[in-house]
Symmetry: C2
């Protein structure tokens, strides 16, 4: 469940969100987006947890891979539904992972 | 609960972890570390969520601020207890946040 990423440098998208109440089709779309992201060129892994706050970190080979995923047609639809129905507030941070270590 | 960080660039430490069973003093130490991190020079904010996987992202002004927090005496004790008792596995990723946007 901790993403097995290659040696740094690589990229991370930190997506932090507060959900609205109710499902409104969220779970089905989240599953579909998870599936599609994993098939995307340059996808390296994803980690996710949610209490009141949700944090999803996806890992990517390059900024170009992140840009391509952001522009994916189905993902654009999901992004719009996200703003219209699922999220009260979110923040996206695009990062370069400069080093990492583990235990 | 979504950290109000300043305009990029700034730095993020993504700490992803799997806990061991039982508290073993974890909650009290986590609270204390949260309190101390917030007093640290260059601390910008923190976001946290846990299901099976825990994700804590702390935000910092500089790599030096991250280094100073890692070397904080009480934090060194917590890091050792983390490896000895609280975490089955963890990964730390040091990142430069290059841009961000929000809704």
């Amino acid at each position: 469940m901790i993403a097995k990423t290659p040696p740094a440098p690589y990229y991370a998208v930190i997506f932090t969100s507060i959900r609205t109440d109710g499902d409104n089709g969220y779970e089905a779309m989240a599953e579909e987006m998870d599936k599609q992201a994993k098939q995307q060129e340059g996808f390296l892994g994803v980690e996710s947890a949610r209490n009141e706050l949700g944090i999803t970190v996806s890992y990517w080979k390059s900024l170009e891979a992140i840009k391509n995923w952001k522009a994916n047609t189905d993902h654009l639809v999901a992004q719009k539904q996200g703003r219209d129905a699922w999220y009260a507030h979110y923040k996206v941070r695009i990062c370069k992972v400069e080093r990492d270590y583990e235990f």
